[in-house]
Amino acid sequence: MNIWWILLLGGLLTFLTRLSFILLLDKLSFPAWVQRALRYVPVAVLTALVFQMIFIQDTGINPSPLNPRLISALLAGVVAWRTRSVLLTILTGMAALFLVQALL
């Protein structure tokens, strides 16, 4: 298949997936239990992404407590909790990551 067709159809499917419920919700409304379930989507998705970025490495799962990314993330979590600042969280986390990577 021509690369341009792959691109076009792949893009169309992606777009329709993204549009699906945003458009459908006009015609139907979510029952209460679905609305309740949806409240947990952001926290579930974001935590899953963060955990994957911390623990999944090229070689597989890295469960070591000395995993530099784990140390950085824990420290960043404390900074985020105390300061509520995204910038400070990133700066502390990256500084910790560099430091631990240099030391270990």
């Binding site: 298949m1 021509n2 690369i3 341009w4 067709w5 792959i6 691109l7 076009l8 159809l9 792949g10 893009g11 499917l13 992606t14 777009f15 997936t17 993204r18 549009l19 699906s20 419920f21 945003i22 458009l23 919700l25 979510f30 609305q35 309740r36 379930a37 949806l38 409240r39 947990y40 989507v41 952001p42 926290v43 579930a44 998705v45 974001l46 935590t47 899953a48 992404l49 963060v50 955990f51 994957q52 970025m53 999944i56 799962i61 990314r69 950085s72 993330a73 960043a76 979590g77 985020a80 909790w81 509520r84 600042s85 995204v86 969280t89 990133i90 986390g93 990256m94 990551l97 990577q101």
Partner: protein
């Protein structure tokens, strides 16, 4: 006073920290795509048409090994299934909009734009902004609620521009930032900063921890299906915890 313009720029500003982590991804994609023998025009066009990082990576890899087109298209669809979940999650906030807004925002619905927008919407719900009491004398009493889509537009467009530019950088400079800078990890750190205020009750914490653990254990599942599995596990755990009270 929250005008459309200020909502838009707040969205751009809130998205900025994520861009640091997105740039290396875009550049790697550009280099990888060119490496498959894809013309530069197609590699760049895919960033605009598909506009989904993981799906583009998978596509480039499949093209490189000569996978049949139909399989590639189906793979793109499966990798992007999680966006249906985002669509459902954001739909209640966008319900009042004109169709053209829904189409535009759906096009811009990526992991990173979703994360920033939905967290902001949820926090607004929990602690409604100290809106000034209704002033009947005001000519245009636009409640901030009706301008919220501009915030999403700001997030989405900021990411879109960044994704196109970093793809182009990868394609035309042909190089990526050194891997040992670990810039991709700024994405995780930004998500952490966004998550902490959301973990306000036990049910949310349990939902997050469950999704996190399942996400790691299920990461080996193909086509990013581990992420959807993790999300559903987290949702179930959250509801279970809520019902226990």
């Amino acid at each position: 006073m929250s005008s459309s313009r200020s909502e838009f720029w707040q969205g751009v500003k809130a998205e900025l920290p994520l861009l640091v982590g997105v740039i290396p991804f875009g550049m790697i994609y550009g280099v990888l795509a060119l490496g498959t023998g894809m013309p530069a025009s197609a590699a760049q066009a895919m960033s605009a048409v598909v506009f989904a990082g993981s799906a583009q990576f998978v596509t480039a890899q499949m093209i490189a090994v000569g996978t049949p087109g139909l399989i590639i298209i189906l793979t793109i669809a499966v990798v992007n299934l999680r966006h249906a979940l985002y669509s459902a999650s954001l739909a209640p906030y966008l319900q009042h909009l004109q169709p053209y807004w829904k189409w535009l925002l759906a096009y811009l619905l990526t992991d990173e734009a979703y994360a920033v927008a939905v967290i902001r919407y949820q926090r607004e719900e929990q602690q409604p902004p100290q809106s000034e009491p209704c002033d009947p004398g005001q000519a245009n009493p636009a409640p901030s609620k009706d301008k919220r889509h501009w915030f999403f537009l700001g997030c989405g467009l900021a990411l879109w521009v960044c994704w196109q530019l970093s793809t182009a950088l990868g394609i035309f400079v042909g190089q990526v930032l050194p891997d040992n800078w670990s810039l991709d990890f700024t994405l995780a750190l930004t998500f952490i900063a966004m998550l902490v205020p959301v973990l306000r009750d036990r049910a949310a914490v349990v939902a997050g921890l469950t999704a996190g653990v399942v996400g790691v254990l299920a990461a080996a599942m193909p086509l990013k299906l581990g992420l959807i599995t993790a999300a559903f596990a987290g949702i179930l755990a959250g509801i279970w915890m809520e019902n226990r009270k």
